[in-house]
Amino acid sequence: MAKIGLIFNGVWSHYALATAPKYRDLYELLYVHDLTAEAVRDLDALAIPFQSNQAVLTEKKDIIYDFLAAGKKVFLEGDSSTAWLDAQWEDRPVNNYWWVTDPTNPPVSDTNYDHPVYQGLTPRQACWHTHGVYTSVPAGAEILQTNAEGDVITWQTNRYGGTLLATTLDPIVEHGVQQITHLDNYVDRLTEWLSGVRPEAGRMTIDAAAYGVGAAG
């Protein structure tokens, strides 16, 4: 039975991850336009990926905060609107090729590897690229990753009841895209932290039957 609701904006990378054999029993796609409190009631966690519909999420923010108030976990990645989040996100140019052009200067300079999602990761597995930064976060939030300028990349707070983990990394989208081949390491740890279940070891595969006429509409 799925434990993690993946808020779904109809984007193919979201779909690719949630229908991959190693993840499909743990993630349930929740189409953002059909998102209700009833749909998330029996889940342990929500994952809000990069390329989400932030305007609709703002309309439905009570569902997210009520979910947190029930003591559950929410993971938020990529860009995010301050309209529903008590934090300030700002855009920055995405650097996909720092590891080619300037490998000693990654987009994340400091990581708390004691956090369960980051335990055992190498620096390359803990950062590939970032989509902007947080210039302010909720009071008392724990800072987990920063860049060389001191801007916040990843933070976590318990002030809403459960745990909200936010990052400008985009592990769900990029793992769905499958152009970065080491992301099983991050996403498997993230999935275990969210659900309590570690996905089967090994590289993510694709189920061809999930595409085309077999795709859930």
Binding site: V11, D34, Q54, I206, G212, A215
Partner: protein, 206 residues
């Protein structure tokens, strides 16, 4: 001037990639729960990278009717649901991205003119950065670009409907030139298609 309907599912920055010009006027259609746009006032339907293919599946019959009225579609995304007439995108990660190279195929309308293929093949010396997966192309459609394993990556389909479709296997395209810079391959391919739409009617309507 052509009129285009740009489908948006609320992604940040989409308007920066499709900018109206003397050739094209863009109208953005924001997807809502009751998504059901009137396509017929437009010449071109643009479904950009990162789109909502659940919503597109809901209007697949409208899309087919729009195309059968001689109109055009650009979809430069992973269309995982079955809404594009005659063609289907498939995700695949069984091949190494470092082995991906695109090669030109049939190009009767010169859509690859002025396109530097190296820009699609390499970014900072790395291959496999642009498209993902491949397209199961309609029989008789033109495969403009194929990958290392001869799988269709860019398709021009003038056979499945009475209109035209330019499809990429999730390789983004754009309609914007930045401050005097030369057009990138992503823009060149798109604008060659716009030129085709502007100056050449669909053969079925000739």
């Amino acid at each position: 001037m052509l009129q285009a309907l740009l489908i948006s599912n609320g992604l940040q920055g989409l308007d920066k990639y499709y900018v109206s010009s003397d050739l094209m006027q863009y109208t953005t259609c924001l997807i809502t729960k009751d998504f059901d746009p009137d396509l017929m006032p437009y010449d071109l339907l643009v479904v950009p990278n990162g789109s909502d293919h659940v919503a597109m599946l809901k209007i697949k019959d409208k899309v087919r009717a729009f195309l059968n009225a001689g109109r055009a579609l650009v979809c430069c995304d992973g269309f995982f649901t079955a809404w594009v007439p005659g063609n289907q995108w498939r995700m695949d990660n069984s091949r190494r991205t470092m082995d991906v190279l695109y090669a030109p195929g049939t190009d009767r309308h010169h859509l690859l003119d002025n396109l530097n293929l190296d820009e699609l093949n390499y970014s900072h010396g790395m291959t496999g950065w642009w498209a993902c997966g491949y397209i199961e192309a309609a029989p008789g459609a033109d495969v403009l670009l194929a990958d290392t394993w001869q799988r269709p990556i860019v398709v021009l389909d003038e056979v499945s409907t009475a209109g035209r479709m330019l499809l990429t296997a999730s390789g983004p395209l754009a309609d914007v030139t930045y401050a005097g810079q030369s057009d990138s391959a992503l823009v060149a391919l798109y604008r060659n298609f716009i030129q085709l739409l502007t100056f050449s009617i669909v053969p079925a309507h000739g």
